[in-house]
Symmetry: C2
Subunit: 226 residues, 2 copies
DNA sequence: TACTGCATAATTGTATACAATTATACGATT
DNA sequence: AATCGTATAATTGTATACAATTATGCAGTA
């Protein structure tokens, strides 16, 4: 797949409609139990029902809405507990990815990981929040690619996307930045040493720490209790 | 939600068209790289392009096909390695579910689990393959419900569905039946004793054992190598 | 032969029309 | 007043029409 394809894909109507509704659910614009009407959403986005319906089917598969046949689509949303569960699940899977990466990472991926950490240390010291966020995302993407499993990569990307939205709700703060980079470094070094156990536990802890940081920054207040 | 809703739900939540195409991919009728044409599949199933397109969007989200805009839908399929990866991922998540179940299982769920194992022992001794299969599926469903996490349950059901298809490809054999029941019993007892660690490791091992049994029964021969 | 350019066909993307189902309003009946 | 039944409206499910894009075949040319 060349670059043009990727761009086309990303901005195609299909993707756009799906992404928009998904974002609105994860951002809390549509709330738990809200009924989504095909025509209303279509008009809002300037499209017909067809692309909206296709998006609905995807959202249902993802568990964000529930479609009752011949009745309608109802937002399932996510609660504070869901977010916690996702982080716990992700902690395990991220550990598995780190473990597998010790066997499967390529030299090129290893290099990009080291470069990523080097840059993170720089921008962290400067307090560049936007760059830090970008580098953090990229670190995890590299890890997912490096695990050598299409299935695990696919799964982790899905959870990571959840997290990107959730994080918007909590305050971004750069104190976590240096801690996070330090943890990335530990994961990277364990992978470099091919120490599977160490890589796994470091990745486990990293995600749990990220979650606990979010809780301290008002996650509970941003999501419904149940 | 009454019974009728559940039934309706079961057959349309993931529509008929989606299920059929998915099955055909997982059963190997469509092979890696095959191009799926909306009209052809629609005619085969006696529907128009609209439901087929909706199914395609879902299958793409699941990673079973890849849609290139304005070109077509191409089967991604699953390889022997994918199956292995899924089992390893599922092993971890099933362990997590068992761990969480020690805290969240209801008396009713515990009872059904015990009943399930009792029946499994009976049908195993009689060599009733169909009942064994049904009871095995149900055991895992109970475990997923009992973990008390919508997110984890959703995820495990998805993986479990994969497995249902995959298992068809390997010979079902009843020697595994008694072993499997024994393992279920260990998981159940650990949950009953609220021994989280024991429950987790027992569930981990159970899934790994199930995978190894599948390998012994010709999994590799049933799927493409890469 | 190999390659280019154009016309045609095939396929997907989107909008719309119609059918099936469900929700709602309102009058009749008790 | 409350309830039931029916007519109407609203909404979803599916099919089809048309537009946009891509694939294909073929004549012409070097």
């Amino acid at each position: 797949m060349n670059v043009k394809d990727e761009v086309t894909d990303k901005y195609s109507l299909r993707g756009r409609v799906y992404s928009k509704i998904r974002e609105d659910i994860l951002d809390g614009r549509y709330r738990n139990g809200d009924e989504l009407r095909e025509i209303a959403i279509g008009e809002e986005l300037g499209v017909s029902r067809t692309p909206v319906r296709e998006a609905f089917r995807q959202l249902e598969l993802e568990g964000l809405i529930r479609i009752v046949p011949n009745k309608g689509a109802y937002v399932t949303g996510i609660t504070a507990k869901d977010v916690k569960d996702i982080y716990m699940i992700r902690s395990m899977l991220e550990g598995l990815a780190a473990k597998w990466a010790t066997e499967n990472i390529t030299d090129e991926q290893m290099n990009e990981m080291e470069e990523n950490i080097c840059l993170s240390e720089f921008h962290s010291s400067k307090g560049h929040a936007a760059q830090m966020s970008e580098l953090d995302n990229r670190f995890h993407e590299i890890l997912y690619e490096a695990c050598g499993s299409k299935m695990l990569e696919h799964q982790l990307i899905e959870y990571h996307e959840y997290v990107l939205r959730v994080r918007r709700k909590t305050l971004s703060q750069n104190k976590r930045g240096s801690e996070s980079t330090e943890e990335h470094k530990m994961i990277m070094e364990a992978i470099k040493q091919k120490d599977a156990k160490k890589a796994e536990s470091a990745a486990n802890r990293h995600i749990v720490n990220a979650y606990e940081n979010m809780v301290r920054n008002g996650l509970k207040e941003a999501y419904p209790e149940n």
